[in-house]
Subunit: 344 residues, 2 copies
DNA sequence: TACTCCTGCTTAATCGTTTCACCGCTTAAT
DNA sequence: ATTAAGCGGTGAAACGATTAAGCAGGAGTA
């Protein structure tokens, strides 16, 4: 039922080679023959079979691997990146292949296997880790890929990074300008590549303001809201707790907010809180969360564009795109209560 | 550089056919031979080439087409379905191919071409329309597919539907039990397959309660928050406006809530509001939205499972899976103010 | 005239796999 | 006693495309 190149050739009265040449624009064909072929293609509603075609060439597919944790794709931050990725990939004629890594399989192996089996022309690496093994392996194997975040040291994989370092500085300076002097940090897991730049920005902003870096004000946490709750609880239990806290993600900030509520502290008055992401929810929690808006969708778009360049060996010079994040001030951050805090 | 089946065969001292049989589990092979083959595979780090493989057999890929509207993937409801889909697909050894339809291309054509070019073994149809052309075309072409919603009349495509009809009845009965008698409906676009069952459930619940069906209380709307705002404004402008409103989606409900606020009406007291979806935001708006929780992630999982069955021609009898939705009562719905409403 | 070069096409090799047909032999069923 | 089915393999034919090589015939050139 499915038309093949052979049937087209027969109908047009030419060989299959000629049909292929017409369809690919390679080879020389008279206008008249070309037209006969095109007519036959149209009449038979012919569709080149992708599999057969990509045995020789590219597969026109970008790969994205997902950790096996169920529901990961539903997370807003990831969904935003994917969305941008899908849009830009489509624009350039690529499909997107989502591969969830099995529990028994290694993510690095999966990436390699997707590329080696020609299922994908290149890979997008999300959730970059410090010394990410995927980037190392792909770079070593010469497989086109891009990183959503800073590549491991020593590997110059193309990447699209959001400048969280500068954003962290902005966020801390915002809190400083409100009069806060004891500023806490709820740090994302330190194996995430995004973690260190945030800490570094935090530290640098404090130093610039002439404030000491107090390690007891920094708590390494996880990814979930519960982790944020825990971390905030820990910060509050300190001898002299912070009057403002920067959380490494909105998710963590929500948890922290919860912990503050439970401690009968009013967010934005007793303790200021700044998140990281600007999830849709951020504007709707109570009080609305001051947070760093990360341009995730744009990041996704750039990732696709950059990967396309890498695959086509175009623009070889542009290896890294940096996007800046913007602080969105809402009501979870407010002026420090200096005297008032003690009076109460 | 890339190991082929031939090299594996040579190394294991068998024919390539045997290697293929070992790898696919088809055919009979002694344990000893199998082991030799597996050893060779491991040593050469052999990866079957997808393209060559799917020329004959399946491509082990499920296709999902997305409308070209940018950012569609970021919508929570869709992301939830995709998430379930990805999880269940991975469980069964499938990848997921996301294809965004170009502006110049027809979605139905894209579906057909993906299947005909053997890029996918089957397709998942989201956002079902009334008389959905995709389902009709795929059914006619005998291409494996499943519908996320009711298939067109006369087409018995396998489908996973959420019982919104029953859910709408529940929602209306909830409002009735609170004493509301004039209940409005903000209807999703009528070309969406999900629209009619909601209206039907709404109508049925009213009839059962002995109330008349008043067409002026039903407003057909769009998909966005603005559409919901519009629709609510329209309802409020009626001669005798409703005291309670059921919105066809949370998105619409958020817009409606906005309109009520702007009209200085207190949601949950002056006018009760019920949504449809239970997005993450629903619990966090003010007041928290009473809404019908749709099991989107489970729907995604079931879609993948069902499509796998269809592809493998397993369980041919089970063609439709129905999931039920549950009403989550929050504070946007409250008792009707009978006398109070007039006294005010 | 004889040679090369182009033009427009065909023939055939190739890609890496799956799978059908078949091998000689043993064992079970009719 | 005959047939049939299973065993553990092999060999070779697909699968549907791309593309290098070849091949007529006419044109250009020495």
């Amino acid at each position: 039922m499915q038309a093949t190149i052979k049937q087209v050739a027969q109908r047009a009265g030419v060989s299959i080679a000629t049909v292929s040449y017409v369809l690919n624009g390679t080879g020389v064909v008279t206008d008249e023959t070309r037209q006969r072929v095109l007519d036959a293609v149209a009449e038979l509603n012919y569709q080149p079979q992708y599999a057969a075609r990509s045995m020789r060439g590219r597969s026109h597919t970008l790969g994205v691997t997902l950790p096996s944790s169920p529901g990961r794709l539903a997370e807003p931050a990831l969904a935003e990146v994917m969305s941008g990725l899908a849009d830009a990939a489509a624009l350039r004629g690529y499909f997107l292949l989502l591969a969830t890594v099995d529990a028994d399989q290694d993510e690095t192996e999966l990436c390699l296997s997707l590329a080696r089996s020609r299922r994908v022309d290149g890979l997008v690496l999300l959730d970059m880790l410090v010394d990410d093994p995927r980037a190392q392996a792909l770079a070593a194997a010469g497989i086109p890929h891009v990183c959503a975040g800073p590549p491991p040291a020593g590997i110059d994989s193309p990447s699209v990074v959001i400048d969280v370092h500068a954003a962290a500085i902005d966020a801390v300076q915002h809190l400083l300008s409100l009069g806060h002097r004891r500023i806490g940090l709820i740090q994302p897991p330190s194996d995430l590549a995004v973690s260190e730049p945030i800490v570094e920005g935090y530290r640098q902003a404090l130093t610039t303001a002439g404030l000491p870096f107090d390690p007891t004000l920094v708590v390494e946490s996880g990814r979930t809201e519960e982790d944020g709750y825990q971390a905030m609880t820990e910060l509050l239990a300190a001898a002299s707790p912070p009057t403002a806290v920067l959380a490494g993600s909105d998710e963590l900030a929500f948890g922290a907010m919860h912990a503050l509520n439970d401690a009968r502290l009013i967010v934005g008055r007793d303790v200021s809180l700044v998140g990281f992401d600007d999830l849709p929810l951020a504007a709707h929690v109570n009080p609305p969360l001051t947070t760093v808006r990360q341009p995730r969708r744009a990041q996704g778009r750039q990732l696709a564009a950059l990967l396309d360049d890498v695959i086509l060996k175009r623009n070889v010079s542009v290896r890294t795109v940096t996007l800046s994040a913007r602080l969105i001030v809402r009501r979870s951050s407010g002026p420090a209560l200096h005297a008032a805090g003690k009076a109460n």
